[in-house]
């Protein structure tokens, strides 16, 4: 399979505010301490959209900008893939609660924000990007599904692709049936050819049947391992660890039921 190259990374999650911080945690230089996810909404979103956009949208935009900045790519340029297990949990809860109380006057803003591609829409509005934008979901395997979509989009278009995977917690009662503890968002700016001194890692889908029936090894830091399993988008952490440590080898990602995705990862410098 054609390899792709990682040139920028943004990450945000509980106890993890940036890629720079994540590198230290993933290399084991600092102990990971779980906390709450702290958002810093991007300045570039127009004021009206800043008012309308939810915290899940803000988190996704934040990591998307960070990955583009690190790669030196204008955010309007790349095609994009947005992967998420669920839509906006707060809005879903609000709409379903109102309907259950026979309040049929749904807020128009809430309704258009309830679509699964709200993040993609706000990304376009904030950056001016008119490139193709895919919006995919595969339950706990949403990060891996997003990566497959991004890789095939990248090889098809041969222009940079921004992959953003994000998930957020639901309020009660949905939290009881889908216990996602907090927001996690990750962005990878991917290119089809390497740029010496700029590309961080090479990722290759492992062959034309890149599936395994068993999961990969647990991460050595048990708290990071817990995080990687607790939030679907955090399923990227084994891959991010491999990139941070400049490891060479195979990574196994959660994908579909009883079907894991195998990647070959190698550092570029």
């Amino acid at each position: 399979m054609h390899p792709v190259y990682v040139e920028g990374i943004g990450v945000l999650g509980p106890g993890m505010e940036s890629w720079q911080e994540a590198v230290c945690l993933l290399k084991g230089e600092h102990a990971y301490l779980p906390g709450k996810t702290i958002l810093s909404p991007p300045e570039s979103l127009p004021p009206a959209e800043r008012r309308r956009a939810s915290r899940g949208v803000m988190a996704a935009l934040q990591v998307g900008y960070a990955a583009c900045t690190m790669a030196g790519v204008l955010p309007a340029e790349p095609a994009s893939v947005f992967a998420s297990s669920g839509g906006d949990g707060d809005i879903c809860n609000a709409i379903c609660s109102a309907l259950a109380a026979d309040d049929h006057l749904i807020s128009p803003t809430q309704f258009h924000n309830s679509v699964h591609n709200a993040i993609s829409g706000y990304w376009g509005i904030a950056t001016g990007a008119m490139a193709p934008s895919s919006v995919v979901s595969a339950y706990d395997g949403s990060f891996a599904a997003g990566l497959l979509e991004a890789v095939s989009l990248l090889v098809s278009l041969r222009t940079p692709v921004l992959l953003v995977a994000s998930d957020q917690d639901y309020p009660f009662p949905l939290s009881a049936v889908r216990p996602v503890p907090d927001i996690f968002a990750v962005a990878l700016l991917l290119t089809v050819t390497p740029h010496p001194g700029k590309s961080l890692a090479q990722i290759r889908i492992a062959g034309d049947l890149p599936f395994a029936e068993l999961p990969g090894q647990a991460m050595s830091d048990l708290l990071l391992d817990d995080l990687s399993r607790a939030i679907p988008a955090a399923g990227c952490l084994p891959l991010l660890q491999s990139i941070a440590r400049q490891d060479t080898g195979n990574i196994v990602l959660v994908y579909l039921p009883s079907q894991y995705l195998v990647l070959e990862v190698a550092p570029c410098r």
Binding site: M1, H2, R52, A76, S85, G86, C92, I95, C96, S97, L99, A100, H104, L105, I106, S107, P108, F111, H112, N113, S114, V115, H116, N117, A118, S120, G121, Y122, G124, I125, T127, G128, A129, M130, A131, P132, S133, S134, V135, V136, S137, A138, Y139, A145, L148, E149, S152, V155, S156, F172, P173, L174, A176, V177, R178, D208, L209, F211, L256, P257
Partner: protein, 397 residues
């Protein structure tokens, strides 16, 4: 891009179960829309409800997936020998080389709405029978269909509002080109629920009468439900002259507004131009355009400007949403199936309700069905968030 052969197809909507009924309704310009009498919902609008969905019985081993959306998915899957066509593809390529790419905007939201009305009076918990993964998750539809068909290739749900089940064709095509699959089940399923009915009502976008896309007195959309699938495969040996192919795909983002189209149809224009480029065709090669054509004042006006900019004013166009309603996340696949039927049967379907012509929209909107050789067709699907997708079907020129 490589072109993909359509080797299986089926569609179920309010105008019919399977292709034969769908074709007969289109030939007869029959609409399936009726005043909304869905469950206990009180909305002054017309909807395209599929009859008999709730009579479908879900197998015991798939009971976690039991919701109206998946019952509709199953009802449609049993039409037109579609499952047999998929099994034949499995024997050609292998179970792990056939992917599943399905679009939905709301999946089993109706079931979630039910669960919220049946919370425990003391604890507030949702009922134990509510299964998030099998009904609420956007991926629930894809996993249900994947299990029904026994497929083990890559699988994903695409949920980009009303472009969802058009964009699945693009995702599948790219994954074939990339080399991960040789064939794919693509399609979309969306079913009626309170969230979309009351949500579109809150935006003031629901017509009180059957929708009349592109007419001068159009007043909004009619929501429908549908399930439509296609089996697409990479070329394998010489094919008959009758085969219809996915020739091109084009996608774009409006980067303009969450629920209003770009007023000049800029995103729509980009999607159509990219589809033509990917197919290696010029605008003069397109014989018929199946419009997104929802029937709102703003959507149809923006699409007409985009069409006129790319194609001029002569190419015959129509929206079939007056027959089927706007089936949201299923619309791309349903209208793709209608486009393939148009090619196979040499006719362009017009909408049942056309109303007075909107003189300000300078396109060739057909008010009657038209016959004649049709070899290449373009279908538009645009969604909230400015998500646009155009597909080109036909026989290679």
């Amino acid at each position: 891009m490589s072109i993909l052969m359509i080797s299986g197809m089926t569609a179920t909507s309010c105008i019919g179960r399977g292709l034969e009924q769908t074709l007969a309704a289109l030939h007869g310009r029959r609409s399936g829309l009726a005043p909304c009498a869905f469950r206990d919902m009180v909305v002054d609008t017309w909807v395209g409800e599929v009859a008999g969905v709730d009579d479908e019985k879900i197998d015991a081993d798939l009971r976690d997936f039991n919701c109206r959306n998946n019952r509709l998915a199953q009802l449609a899957l049993s039409q037109d020998g579609f499952a047999d066509a998929v099994e034949a593809a499995v024997s050609r390529w292998g179970r792990r080389r056939v992917g599943v790419f399905l679009g939905t905007s709301t999946a089993g939201m109706l079931r979630t709405e039910w669960a919220f009305r049946h919370r425990d009076a003391v604890s507030g918990q949702l009922p134990a029978e509510f299964v998030y993964a099998g009904t609420h998750s956007p991926y629930s539809l894809t996993e249900f269909v994947r299990r029904k068909l026994g497929l083990e290739g890559p699988a994903v749900a695409v949920s980009s509002a009303c472009s969802s089940s058009a964009k699945v064709f693009a995702s599948a095509q790219r994954m074939v080109d990339y080399g991960l699959i040789d064939a794919a089940v693509v399609g979309g399923v969306d079913s009626l629920c309170a969230t979309t009915l009351y949500g579109f009502e809150s935006l003031g976008l629901l017509a009180k009468e059957p929708c009349r896309p592109f007419s001068g007195d159009r007043a909004g959309i009619s929501i429908g439900e549908a399930a439509a699938y296609m089996l697409v495969e990479r070329m394998a040996g010489p094919q008959g002259r009758e085969a219809v192919w996915l020739l091109g795909v084009g996608e774009s983002s409006d980067a303009y507004h969450m629920s209003s189209p770009h007023p000049q149809g800029l995103g729509a224009r980009l999607a159509m131009e990219r589809a033509l480029v990917s197919a290696g065709l010029g605008p003069e090669h397109i014989d018929y355009i199946n419009l997104h054509g929802t029937g709102t004042v703003a959507n149809d006006a923006a699409e007409a400007i985009a069409i006129a900019n790319v194609f001029g004013t002569a190419t015959p166009c129509s929206s079939t949403k007056g027959a089927t309603g706007h089936t949201l996340g299923a619309a791309g696949a349903l209208e793709a199936a209608i486009c393939v039927l148009a090619i196979q049967n040499d006719f362009m379907p017009s909408s049942p309700y056309t109303g007075p012509r909107d003189q300000s929209l300078e396109i060739n909107y057909i008010s009657q069905n038209q016959g004649g050789a049709i070899s290449t067709v373009l279908s538009n699907s645009f969604g909230f968030g400015g998500s646009n997708c155009s597909l080109i079907f036909g026989r290679p020129i």
